[in-house]
Protein backbone atom coordinates (compact mmCIF):
# COMPACT_ATOMS: atom_id res chain seq x y z
CA UNK A 1 0.00 0.00 0.00
CA UNK A 2 1.43 3.38 -0.96
CA UNK A 3 1.93 5.81 1.91
CA UNK A 4 1.08 9.47 1.62
CA UNK A 5 3.86 12.01 2.08
CA UNK A 6 3.71 13.65 5.49
CA UNK A 7 2.82 17.07 4.11
CA UNK A 8 -0.26 15.57 2.42
CA UNK A 9 -1.85 14.48 5.68
CA UNK A 10 -0.12 16.43 8.45
CA UNK A 11 -2.38 19.50 8.68
CA UNK A 12 -5.60 17.57 8.77
CA UNK A 13 -4.28 14.88 11.13
CA UNK A 14 -2.97 17.25 13.72
CA UNK A 15 -6.04 19.49 13.69
CA UNK A 16 -7.46 17.99 16.85
CA UNK A 17 -9.84 20.79 17.79
CA UNK A 18 -13.46 19.74 18.11
CA UNK A 19 -16.71 21.06 19.54
CA UNK A 20 -17.27 19.58 22.99
CA UNK A 21 -20.80 18.51 23.88
CA UNK A 22 -20.53 16.97 27.38
CA UNK A 23 -18.74 19.96 28.91
CA UNK A 24 -18.36 23.56 27.87
CA UNK A 25 -15.34 24.81 25.98
CA UNK A 26 -14.37 26.85 29.05
CA UNK A 27 -14.40 23.74 31.23
CA UNK A 28 -12.29 21.81 28.76
CA UNK A 29 -9.81 24.64 28.29
CA UNK A 30 -9.97 26.90 31.36
CA UNK A 31 -8.25 30.26 30.82
CA UNK A 32 -6.11 29.76 33.90
CA UNK A 33 -4.55 26.70 32.27
CA UNK A 34 -4.46 27.85 28.64
CA UNK A 35 -3.40 31.46 29.22
CA UNK A 36 -5.12 32.27 25.95
CA UNK A 37 -5.54 35.92 27.09
CA UNK A 38 -9.02 36.16 25.61
CA UNK A 39 -7.85 35.33 22.10
CA UNK A 40 -10.59 33.01 20.72
CA UNK A 41 -9.76 29.49 19.64
CA UNK A 42 -10.22 30.10 15.90
CA UNK A 43 -7.52 32.79 16.06
CA UNK A 44 -5.17 30.29 17.67
CA UNK A 45 -5.81 27.79 14.87
CA UNK A 46 -3.57 29.76 12.51
CA UNK A 47 -0.62 28.82 14.76
CA UNK A 48 1.91 27.33 12.37
CA UNK A 49 4.74 25.35 13.91
CA UNK A 50 7.92 25.81 11.90
CA UNK A 51 9.17 22.30 12.56
CA UNK A 52 6.86 19.47 11.61
CA UNK A 53 7.35 15.85 12.42
CA UNK A 54 5.25 12.74 12.88
CA UNK A 55 5.38 10.17 15.63
CA UNK A 56 7.02 7.40 13.53
CA UNK A 57 9.66 9.84 12.30
CA UNK A 58 10.25 11.14 15.82
CA UNK A 59 10.69 7.67 17.27
CA UNK A 60 13.05 6.55 14.53
CA UNK A 61 15.31 9.61 14.92
CA UNK A 62 15.28 9.55 18.74
CA UNK A 63 16.15 5.87 18.69
CA UNK A 64 19.24 6.64 16.63
CA UNK A 65 20.20 9.51 18.93
CA UNK A 66 19.84 7.35 22.01
CA UNK A 67 21.86 4.55 20.45
CA UNK A 68 24.64 7.09 19.84
CA UNK A 69 24.49 8.55 23.34
CA UNK A 70 24.44 5.19 25.10
CA UNK A 71 27.37 3.84 23.09
CA UNK A 72 29.35 6.89 24.21
CA UNK A 73 28.29 6.11 27.76
CA UNK A 74 29.71 2.60 27.37
CA UNK A 75 33.01 4.16 26.29
CA UNK A 76 32.88 6.47 29.32
CA UNK A 77 33.01 3.45 31.60
CA UNK A 78 36.38 2.55 30.11
CA UNK A 79 37.81 6.05 29.78
CA UNK A 80 40.06 7.83 32.25
CA UNK A 81 38.37 11.17 31.68
CA UNK A 82 37.45 11.51 35.33
CA UNK A 83 41.02 10.89 36.49
CA UNK A 84 42.74 12.93 33.79
CA UNK A 85 40.53 15.98 33.30
CA UNK A 86 41.33 19.30 34.93
CA UNK A 87 39.47 19.53 38.27
CA UNK A 88 37.90 22.76 37.04
CA UNK A 89 36.26 20.84 34.24
CA UNK A 90 35.00 18.13 36.61
CA UNK A 91 33.47 20.91 38.71
CA UNK A 92 31.62 22.27 35.70
CA UNK A 93 30.14 18.82 35.14
CA UNK A 94 28.97 18.53 38.74
CA UNK A 95 27.45 22.00 38.77
CA UNK A 96 25.76 21.38 35.44
CA UNK A 97 24.21 18.03 36.31
CA UNK A 98 22.92 19.19 39.69
CA UNK A 99 21.44 22.38 38.32
CA UNK A 100 19.99 20.90 35.14
CA UNK A 101 19.10 17.20 35.34
CA UNK A 102 15.95 17.41 37.46
CA UNK A 103 15.06 20.74 35.89
CA UNK A 104 14.54 18.66 32.75
CA UNK A 105 11.85 16.64 34.55
CA UNK A 106 10.22 19.94 35.51
CA UNK A 107 10.40 21.01 31.87
CA UNK A 108 8.69 17.73 30.96
CA UNK A 109 5.72 18.71 33.15
CA UNK A 110 5.65 22.11 31.49
CA UNK A 111 5.65 20.56 28.02
CA UNK A 112 2.86 18.26 29.19
CA UNK A 113 0.81 21.29 30.17
CA UNK A 114 1.23 22.71 26.68
CA UNK A 115 0.40 19.31 25.20
CA UNK A 116 -2.89 19.29 27.11
CA UNK A 117 -3.88 22.95 27.38
CA UNK A 118 -2.19 24.60 24.41
CA UNK A 119 -4.93 26.44 22.55
CA UNK A 120 -3.46 25.64 19.14
CA UNK A 121 -3.39 22.06 17.84
CA UNK A 122 0.09 22.65 16.41
CA UNK A 123 1.35 23.70 19.82
CA UNK A 124 -0.12 20.60 21.45
CA UNK A 125 1.47 18.40 18.83
CA UNK A 126 4.96 19.89 19.16
CA UNK A 127 4.71 19.89 22.94
CA UNK A 128 3.90 16.17 22.96
CA UNK A 129 7.29 15.54 21.39
CA UNK A 130 8.85 18.18 23.64
CA UNK A 131 7.55 16.28 26.65
CA UNK A 132 9.22 13.10 25.45
CA UNK A 133 12.42 15.08 24.76
CA UNK A 134 12.60 16.45 28.28
CA UNK A 135 12.07 13.04 29.80
CA UNK A 136 15.01 11.82 27.74
CA UNK A 137 17.16 14.76 28.86
CA UNK A 138 16.51 14.12 32.52
CA UNK A 139 17.28 10.43 32.23
CA UNK A 140 20.46 10.90 30.22
CA UNK A 141 21.78 13.54 32.58
CA UNK A 142 21.08 11.30 35.57
CA UNK A 143 22.53 8.19 33.99
CA UNK A 144 25.84 9.72 32.86
CA UNK A 145 26.91 11.20 36.21
CA UNK A 146 25.81 8.03 37.97
CA UNK A 147 28.92 6.46 36.47
CA UNK A 148 31.05 8.70 38.71
CA UNK A 149 29.08 8.39 41.98
CA UNK A 150 31.19 5.55 43.31
CA UNK A 151 34.35 7.65 42.90
CA UNK A 152 33.01 10.99 44.06
CA UNK A 153 29.78 11.48 45.93
CA UNK A 154 29.40 15.09 44.78
CA UNK A 155 28.15 13.54 41.54
CA UNK A 156 25.22 12.17 43.53
CA UNK A 157 23.94 15.75 43.57
CA UNK A 158 22.86 15.31 39.95
CA UNK A 159 19.82 13.72 41.54
CA UNK A 160 19.98 15.17 45.02
CA UNK A 161 20.27 18.91 44.38
CA UNK A 162 16.62 19.63 43.66
CA UNK A 163 15.53 17.68 46.72
CA UNK A 164 17.68 19.82 48.99
CA UNK A 165 17.64 23.31 50.48
CA UNK A 166 21.07 24.13 49.10
CA UNK A 167 20.94 27.81 48.08
CA UNK A 168 21.67 27.24 44.39
CA UNK A 169 18.96 24.60 44.30
CA UNK A 170 16.50 27.03 45.91
CA UNK A 171 17.43 29.62 43.28
CA UNK A 172 16.96 27.14 40.43
CA UNK A 173 13.61 25.92 41.78
CA UNK A 174 12.35 29.46 42.34
CA UNK A 175 13.29 30.43 38.80
CA UNK A 176 11.90 27.34 37.11
CA UNK A 177 8.71 27.37 39.20
CA UNK A 178 8.20 30.94 38.01
CA UNK A 179 9.07 30.37 34.35
CA UNK A 180 7.27 27.13 33.70
CA UNK A 181 5.96 25.05 36.60
CA UNK A 182 3.43 27.63 37.81
CA UNK A 183 2.39 29.05 34.44
CA UNK A 184 -0.29 28.49 31.82
CA UNK A 185 0.37 26.74 28.50
CA UNK A 186 0.75 30.01 26.60
CA UNK A 187 2.99 31.55 29.24
CA UNK A 188 5.16 28.43 29.19
CA UNK A 189 5.46 28.66 25.41
CA UNK A 190 6.77 32.21 25.77
CA UNK A 191 8.82 31.98 28.97
CA UNK A 192 10.27 28.48 28.74
CA UNK A 193 10.59 27.74 25.06
CA UNK A 194 11.11 31.26 23.71
CA UNK A 195 12.84 33.29 26.43
CA UNK A 196 14.73 30.52 28.22
CA UNK A 197 15.42 27.96 25.51
CA UNK A 198 15.82 30.09 22.39
CA UNK A 199 17.57 32.83 24.29
CA UNK A 200 19.69 30.97 26.78
CA UNK A 201 19.80 27.17 26.80
CA UNK A 202 20.70 27.07 23.14
CA UNK A 203 23.86 28.95 24.09
CA UNK A 204 24.46 27.09 27.33
CA UNK A 205 24.43 23.81 25.45
CA UNK A 206 26.25 24.99 22.33
CA UNK A 207 28.90 26.71 24.41
CA UNK A 208 29.28 23.75 26.75
CA UNK A 209 29.52 21.26 23.90
CA UNK A 210 32.34 23.30 22.36
CA UNK A 211 34.12 23.65 25.71
CA UNK A 212 33.75 19.93 26.38
CA UNK A 213 35.31 19.04 23.04
CA UNK A 214 38.13 21.51 23.77
CA UNK A 215 38.71 19.94 27.16
CA UNK A 216 38.83 16.49 25.57
CA UNK A 217 35.61 15.34 27.19
CA UNK A 218 33.96 13.83 24.12
CA UNK A 219 31.43 11.96 26.19
CA UNK A 220 29.94 15.13 27.57
CA UNK A 221 30.27 16.91 24.23
CA UNK A 222 28.23 14.27 22.45
CA UNK A 223 25.67 14.01 25.27
CA UNK A 224 25.10 17.74 25.19
CA UNK A 225 24.97 17.89 21.40
CA UNK A 226 22.44 15.09 21.38
CA UNK A 227 20.23 16.99 23.82
CA UNK A 228 20.69 20.20 21.88
CA UNK A 229 19.20 18.70 18.71
CA UNK A 230 15.93 18.19 20.65
CA UNK A 231 16.09 21.65 22.21
CA UNK A 232 16.47 23.43 18.92
CA UNK A 233 13.28 21.71 17.71
CA UNK A 234 10.96 22.22 20.68
CA UNK A 235 12.34 25.71 21.45
CA UNK A 236 10.34 26.74 18.36
CA UNK A 237 7.01 26.34 20.15
CA UNK A 238 7.07 29.89 21.50
CA UNK A 239 7.63 31.93 18.34
CA UNK A 240 4.27 31.21 16.62
CA UNK A 241 2.46 31.68 19.97
CA UNK A 242 3.95 35.16 20.20
CA UNK A 243 2.84 35.84 16.63
CA UNK A 244 -0.74 34.91 17.47
CA UNK A 245 -0.75 37.10 20.58
CA UNK A 246 0.73 40.09 18.78
CA UNK A 247 -1.62 39.74 15.79
CA UNK A 248 -4.57 39.78 18.19
CA UNK A 249 -3.69 42.88 20.16
CA UNK A 250 -1.90 41.16 23.03
CA UNK A 251 1.57 42.57 22.46
CA UNK A 252 1.72 44.21 25.88
CA UNK A 253 1.03 40.92 27.67
CA UNK A 254 3.46 39.07 25.43
CA UNK A 255 6.17 41.66 26.00
CA UNK A 256 5.83 41.40 29.76
CA UNK A 257 6.18 37.62 29.70
CA UNK A 258 9.28 37.91 27.54
CA UNK A 259 10.80 40.61 29.74
CA UNK A 260 10.24 38.66 32.95
CA UNK A 261 11.47 35.46 31.29
CA UNK A 262 14.73 36.96 30.07
CA UNK A 263 15.37 38.77 33.36
CA UNK A 264 15.09 35.56 35.33
CA UNK A 265 17.01 33.39 32.87
CA UNK A 266 19.86 35.90 32.76
CA UNK A 267 20.55 35.66 36.51
CA UNK A 268 20.79 31.88 36.58
CA UNK A 269 22.78 31.88 33.38
CA UNK A 270 25.37 34.36 34.63
CA UNK A 271 25.80 32.26 37.77
CA UNK A 272 26.27 28.94 35.98
CA UNK A 273 27.63 29.70 32.54
CA UNK A 274 29.38 32.97 33.37
CA UNK A 275 31.50 31.45 36.11
CA UNK A 276 32.12 28.28 34.09
CA UNK A 277 33.37 30.11 31.02
CA UNK A 278 35.53 32.77 32.65
CA UNK A 279 36.87 30.89 35.66
CA UNK A 280 36.36 27.12 35.78
CA UNK A 281 37.25 26.39 32.16
CA UNK A 282 41.05 26.01 32.06
CA UNK A 283 42.59 29.09 30.47
CA UNK A 284 44.08 27.25 27.50
CA UNK A 285 40.61 25.96 26.55
CA UNK A 286 38.82 29.32 26.62
CA UNK A 287 37.86 30.60 23.21
CA UNK A 288 35.69 33.57 24.12
CA UNK A 289 34.97 35.46 27.27
CA UNK A 290 31.46 35.20 28.69
CA UNK A 291 30.88 38.82 27.77
CA UNK A 292 31.94 38.23 24.16
CA UNK A 293 29.69 35.19 24.07
CA UNK A 294 26.73 37.17 25.42
CA UNK A 295 27.32 40.02 23.01
CA UNK A 296 27.44 37.62 20.08
CA UNK A 297 24.43 35.47 20.99
CA UNK A 298 22.13 37.64 23.06
CA UNK A 299 22.81 41.06 21.62
CA UNK A 300 23.78 39.93 18.11
CA UNK A 301 21.25 37.17 17.51
CA UNK A 302 18.46 37.05 20.09
CA UNK A 303 17.93 40.79 19.82
CA UNK A 304 17.24 40.32 16.08
CA UNK A 305 14.75 37.55 16.86
CA UNK A 306 12.84 39.83 19.24
CA UNK A 307 12.66 42.67 16.74
CA UNK A 308 11.66 40.39 13.86
CA UNK A 309 8.71 39.09 15.88
CA UNK A 310 7.52 42.66 16.40
CA UNK A 311 8.52 42.84 20.05
CA UNK A 312 10.52 45.61 21.69
CA UNK A 313 13.77 45.11 23.54
CA UNK A 314 13.12 44.77 27.28
CA UNK A 315 13.23 48.17 29.03
CA UNK A 316 16.26 47.01 31.03
CA UNK A 317 18.29 45.90 27.97
CA UNK A 318 21.14 48.39 28.48
CA UNK A 319 21.29 47.66 32.19
CA UNK A 320 21.55 43.94 31.46
CA UNK A 321 24.33 44.52 28.94
CA UNK A 322 26.16 46.63 31.53
CA UNK A 323 25.92 43.64 33.89
CA UNK A 324 27.86 41.49 31.39
CA UNK A 325 30.91 43.35 32.77
CA UNK A 326 30.50 42.42 36.41
CA UNK A 327 27.63 40.26 37.58
CA UNK A 328 29.22 36.88 36.93
CA UNK A 329 32.54 38.05 38.43
CA UNK A 330 30.64 38.86 41.61
CA UNK A 331 28.86 35.48 41.56
CA UNK A 332 32.23 33.76 41.10
CA UNK A 333 33.54 35.47 44.20
CA UNK A 334 30.39 34.43 46.04
CA UNK A 335 30.59 30.77 45.09
CA UNK A 336 34.30 30.59 45.82
CA UNK A 337 34.14 32.34 49.20
CA UNK A 338 31.03 30.41 50.33
CA UNK A 339 32.46 27.20 48.81
CA UNK A 340 31.44 24.90 51.70
CA UNK A 341 27.83 25.56 50.65
CA UNK A 342 28.28 24.04 47.17
CA UNK A 343 27.95 20.49 45.90
CA UNK A 344 30.93 21.00 43.63
CA UNK A 345 34.48 22.26 44.16
CA UNK A 346 34.73 25.69 42.57
CA UNK A 347 37.87 26.50 40.59
CA UNK A 348 39.27 29.89 41.56
CA UNK A 349 40.56 30.53 38.02
CA UNK A 350 43.07 32.88 39.58
CA UNK A 351 46.58 32.18 38.27
CA UNK A 352 48.59 35.24 37.18
CA UNK A 353 47.87 34.28 33.55
CA UNK A 354 44.15 34.10 34.33
CA UNK A 355 44.31 37.61 35.78
CA UNK A 356 46.05 38.92 32.68
CA UNK A 357 43.30 37.35 30.60
CA UNK A 358 40.56 38.83 32.79
CA UNK A 359 42.18 42.26 32.57
CA UNK A 360 42.34 42.00 28.79
CA UNK A 361 38.70 40.91 28.47
CA UNK A 362 37.38 43.17 31.24
CA UNK A 363 39.61 46.26 31.52
CA UNK A 364 39.77 47.38 35.14
CA UNK A 365 39.20 43.90 36.55
CA UNK A 366 42.38 43.97 38.65
CA UNK A 367 41.44 47.26 40.30
CA UNK A 368 37.98 46.03 41.25
CA UNK A 369 37.57 42.26 41.66
CA UNK A 370 41.34 41.79 41.73
CA UNK A 371 41.55 43.84 44.95
CA UNK A 372 39.43 41.27 46.74
CA UNK A 373 41.39 38.33 45.37
CA UNK A 374 44.61 40.08 46.55
CA UNK A 375 43.35 39.89 50.13
CA UNK A 376 42.32 36.26 49.71
CA UNK A 377 45.69 35.31 48.20
CA UNK A 378 47.57 37.03 51.05
CA UNK A 379 45.55 35.04 53.56
CA UNK A 380 46.16 31.75 51.76
CA UNK A 381 49.91 32.36 51.57
CA UNK A 382 50.10 33.42 55.22
CA UNK A 383 48.23 30.31 56.34
CA UNK A 384 45.20 32.29 57.52
CA UNK A 385 42.83 29.81 55.92
CA UNK A 386 40.01 30.68 58.33
CA UNK A 387 39.87 34.21 56.90
CA UNK A 388 39.20 32.80 53.43
CA UNK A 389 35.93 31.35 54.71
CA UNK A 390 32.65 33.04 55.66
CA UNK A 391 31.17 33.32 59.13
CA UNK A 392 27.85 34.82 58.15
CA UNK A 393 25.26 34.63 55.39
CA UNK A 394 25.25 36.82 52.33
CA UNK A 395 22.10 38.86 51.86
CA UNK A 396 19.94 37.03 49.34
CA UNK A 397 17.86 38.68 46.62
CA UNK A 398 14.14 38.02 47.09
CA UNK A 399 13.81 37.44 43.35
CA UNK A 400 16.90 35.63 42.07
CA UNK A 401 17.57 33.95 45.46
CA UNK A 402 21.25 34.66 44.77
CA UNK A 403 23.54 36.91 46.82
CA UNK A 404 23.06 40.66 46.33
CA UNK A 405 26.41 41.60 44.86
CA UNK A 406 28.17 43.82 42.33
CA UNK A 407 31.54 45.54 41.87
CA UNK A 408 34.06 45.69 44.76
CA UNK A 409 37.31 47.65 45.07
CA UNK A 410 37.69 50.75 42.94
CA UNK A 411 34.35 51.18 41.23
CA UNK A 412 32.51 49.85 44.31
CA UNK A 413 28.81 50.00 43.42
CA UNK A 414 27.13 47.45 45.69
CA UNK A 415 23.64 48.50 46.64
CA UNK A 416 20.41 47.18 48.07
CA UNK A 417 17.22 47.72 46.05
CA UNK A 418 14.57 47.39 48.77
CA UNK A 419 10.80 47.40 48.45
CA UNK A 420 8.18 47.71 51.18
CA UNK A 421 5.14 45.65 50.35
CA UNK A 422 2.28 44.85 52.72
CA UNK A 423 4.35 45.32 55.84
CA UNK A 424 7.36 43.31 54.73
CA UNK A 425 10.61 44.69 53.33
CA UNK A 426 12.01 42.79 50.37
CA UNK A 427 15.59 43.15 49.16
CA UNK A 428 16.68 42.92 45.54
CA UNK A 429 19.90 42.75 43.56
CA UNK A 430 18.89 45.39 41.00
CA UNK A 431 16.10 47.49 39.54
CA UNK A 432 15.41 44.58 37.22
CA UNK A 433 14.77 42.04 40.01
CA UNK A 434 12.60 44.54 41.88
CA UNK A 435 10.61 45.29 38.72
CA UNK A 436 9.90 41.57 38.21
CA UNK A 437 8.45 41.38 41.73
CA UNK A 438 6.29 44.44 41.13
CA UNK A 439 4.71 42.87 38.04
CA UNK A 440 2.94 40.28 40.19
CA UNK A 441 3.59 40.73 43.92
CA UNK A 442 0.98 38.16 44.97
CA UNK A 443 2.92 35.54 43.05
CA UNK A 444 6.20 36.16 44.89
CA UNK A 445 5.38 37.73 48.25
CA UNK A 446 5.14 34.63 50.43
CA UNK A 447 8.41 33.03 49.41
CA UNK A 448 11.13 33.10 52.07
CA UNK A 449 14.74 33.44 51.01
CA UNK A 450 17.41 31.49 52.85
CA UNK A 451 18.09 34.59 54.98
CA UNK A 452 14.38 35.01 55.75
CA UNK A 453 14.33 31.37 56.89
CA UNK A 454 17.42 31.90 59.01
CA UNK A 455 15.87 34.91 60.73
CA UNK A 456 12.65 32.95 61.30
CA UNK A 457 14.65 30.37 63.24
CA UNK A 458 14.29 27.58 60.70
CA UNK A 459 18.04 26.99 60.52
CA UNK A 460 19.40 25.44 63.70
CA UNK A 461 21.93 25.75 65.17
CA UNK A 462 22.16 29.26 63.74
CA UNK A 463 25.71 28.96 62.41
CA UNK A 464 27.57 27.63 59.38
CA UNK A 465 27.22 24.04 60.59
CA UNK A 466 23.48 24.45 60.99
CA UNK A 467 23.28 26.07 57.58
CA UNK A 468 25.17 23.18 55.96
CA UNK A 469 22.81 20.71 57.62
CA UNK A 470 19.84 22.72 56.46
CA UNK A 471 21.22 22.63 52.94
CA UNK A 472 21.56 18.82 53.22
CA UNK A 473 25.31 18.99 52.58
CA UNK A 474 26.96 15.98 54.18
CA UNK A 475 30.67 15.63 54.96
CA UNK A 476 32.39 14.47 51.79
CA UNK A 477 29.98 16.51 49.71
CA UNK A 478 30.73 20.07 50.76
CA UNK A 479 32.73 22.11 48.30
CA UNK A 480 36.36 23.14 48.55
CA UNK A 481 38.84 24.73 46.14
CA UNK A 482 39.03 22.58 43.00
CA UNK A 483 42.83 22.71 42.81
CA UNK A 484 43.46 22.48 46.56
CA UNK A 485 44.83 26.05 46.50
CA UNK A 486 47.91 25.07 44.46
CA UNK A 487 47.35 28.12 42.23
CA UNK A 488 48.08 30.50 45.12
CA UNK A 489 51.71 29.36 45.27
CA UNK A 490 52.45 31.29 42.08
CA UNK A 491 52.19 34.45 44.17
CA UNK A 492 54.57 33.44 46.97
CA UNK A 493 57.29 36.12 47.13
CA UNK A 494 55.91 37.29 43.83
CA UNK A 495 52.89 39.58 44.18
CA UNK A 496 50.77 40.02 41.12
CA UNK A 497 51.92 42.76 38.77
CA UNK A 498 49.45 44.02 36.26
CA UNK A 499 50.84 43.65 32.76
CA UNK A 500 51.62 46.95 31.09
CA UNK A 501 48.88 47.73 28.63
Amino acid sequence: MALLERNEWYDIARNTNWTPTHVTEAELFPDVMTGAKGVPVEKWEVYDEPYKTSYPEYVRIQREKDAGAYSVKAALERSRMFEDADPGWVSILKAHYGAIALGEYAAMSAEARMARFGRAPGMRNMATFGMLDENRHAQLQLYFPHEHCSKDRQFDWAHKAYHSNEWGAIAARHTFDDLFMARSATDIAVMLTFAFETGFTNMQFLGLAADAAEAGDFTFASLISSIQTDESRHAQIGGPALQVMIANGRKEEAQKLVDVGIARAWRLFSLLTGTSMDYATPLEHRKQSFKEFMLEWIVGQFERTLIDLGLDLPWYWNQMIAEFDYQHHAYQMGIWFWRPTLWWNPAAGMTPDCRDWLEEKYPGWNDSFGKVWDVIIDNLLAGRHELTLPETLPMICNMSQLPICAVPGNGWNVKDYPLDYQGRTYHFNSEIDRWVFQQDPARYRDHMSLVDRFLAGQIQPPNLMGALQYMNLAPGEIGDDAHKYAWAEAYRNNPYQKKAA
Binding site: A330, M333, G334, F337, F369, K371, V372, D374, V375, I376, N379, L387, T388, P390, E391, T392, L393, P394, M395, P403, I404, C405, A406, V407, P408, G409, W412, V414, K415, D416, P418, T425, H427, V451, F454, L455
Partner: protein
Protein backbone atom coordinates in the same frame (compact mmCIF):
# COMPACT_ATOMS: atom_id res chain seq x y z
CA UNK B 1 19.48 44.82 75.12
CA UNK B 2 17.96 43.24 72.07
CA UNK B 3 19.53 41.22 69.30
CA UNK B 4 19.38 43.17 66.10
CA UNK B 5 20.02 41.82 62.58
CA UNK B 6 21.19 44.31 60.01
CA UNK B 7 22.49 44.28 56.47
CA UNK B 8 26.05 45.40 56.03
CA UNK B 9 27.12 47.13 52.82
CA UNK B 10 30.83 47.48 53.50
CA UNK B 11 32.83 49.84 51.31
CA UNK B 12 34.97 48.01 48.72
CA UNK B 13 33.39 44.60 49.48
CA UNK B 14 31.46 42.83 46.73
CA UNK B 15 28.21 41.92 48.46
CA UNK B 16 25.70 42.62 51.23
CA UNK B 17 26.00 40.50 54.37
CA UNK B 18 23.90 39.70 57.38
CA UNK B 19 25.41 41.05 60.61
CA UNK B 20 24.14 40.45 64.14
CA UNK B 21 24.44 43.39 66.54
CA UNK B 22 22.62 44.72 69.59
CA UNK B 23 20.49 47.81 70.24
CA UNK B 24 22.95 48.82 72.99
CA UNK B 25 25.93 48.86 70.59
CA UNK B 26 27.50 52.18 69.62
CA UNK B 27 28.11 52.97 65.97
CA UNK B 28 31.80 52.15 66.46
CA UNK B 29 30.84 48.75 67.84
CA UNK B 30 28.41 48.15 65.00
CA UNK B 31 31.15 49.10 62.54
CA UNK B 32 33.53 46.64 64.20
CA UNK B 33 30.92 43.87 63.95
CA UNK B 34 30.49 44.55 60.24
CA UNK B 35 34.25 44.85 59.65
CA UNK B 36 34.73 41.40 61.19
CA UNK B 37 33.02 39.87 58.13
CA UNK B 38 34.71 42.05 55.49
CA UNK B 39 38.02 43.61 56.52
CA UNK B 40 40.93 41.19 56.34
CA UNK B 41 38.74 38.69 54.45
CA UNK B 42 38.03 40.53 51.23
CA UNK B 43 38.68 44.19 52.03
CA UNK B 44 42.25 45.31 52.78
CA UNK B 45 42.63 46.99 56.20
CA UNK B 46 43.19 50.74 56.09
CA UNK B 47 45.29 51.52 59.18
CA UNK B 48 44.58 54.91 60.69
CA UNK B 49 41.17 55.24 59.11
CA UNK B 50 37.88 55.05 60.97
CA UNK B 51 34.85 53.18 59.66
CA UNK B 52 31.76 55.36 59.89
CA UNK B 53 28.13 54.31 59.61
CA UNK B 54 25.35 55.83 57.52
CA UNK B 55 22.03 54.88 55.99
CA UNK B 56 22.13 53.73 52.40
CA UNK B 57 21.99 56.81 50.20
CA UNK B 58 22.83 59.29 53.00
CA UNK B 59 25.93 61.46 53.00
CA UNK B 60 25.86 62.17 56.76
CA UNK B 61 27.25 59.62 59.21
CA UNK B 62 25.74 58.79 62.58
CA UNK B 63 27.79 60.03 65.55
CA UNK B 64 30.39 57.40 66.51
CA UNK B 65 29.06 57.00 70.04
CA UNK B 66 25.37 56.99 69.19
CA UNK B 67 23.65 53.80 70.33
CA UNK B 68 21.98 51.75 67.65
CA UNK B 69 18.65 51.88 69.51
CA UNK B 70 18.70 55.68 69.28
CA UNK B 71 19.46 56.03 65.59
CA UNK B 72 16.14 54.95 64.12
CA UNK B 73 17.83 52.27 62.04
CA UNK B 74 15.32 49.45 61.55
CA UNK B 75 16.11 45.75 61.85
CA UNK B 76 17.28 44.41 58.46
CA UNK B 77 17.91 47.84 57.11
CA UNK B 78 20.89 48.17 54.79
CA UNK B 79 23.59 50.29 56.34
CA UNK B 80 26.77 51.54 54.68
CA UNK B 81 30.17 51.29 56.33
CA UNK B 82 32.66 53.79 54.95
CA UNK B 83 36.38 54.38 55.59
CA UNK B 84 37.00 57.99 56.69
CA UNK B 85 39.90 60.03 58.01
CA UNK B 86 40.13 59.73 61.79
Amino acid sequence: MAAFPMISNFQYDFLLQLVAVDTENTMDEVAAAAAYHSVGRRVAPQPGKVVRVRRQGDTEFFPRHAKLGETGIKPMETVEFIFTEA
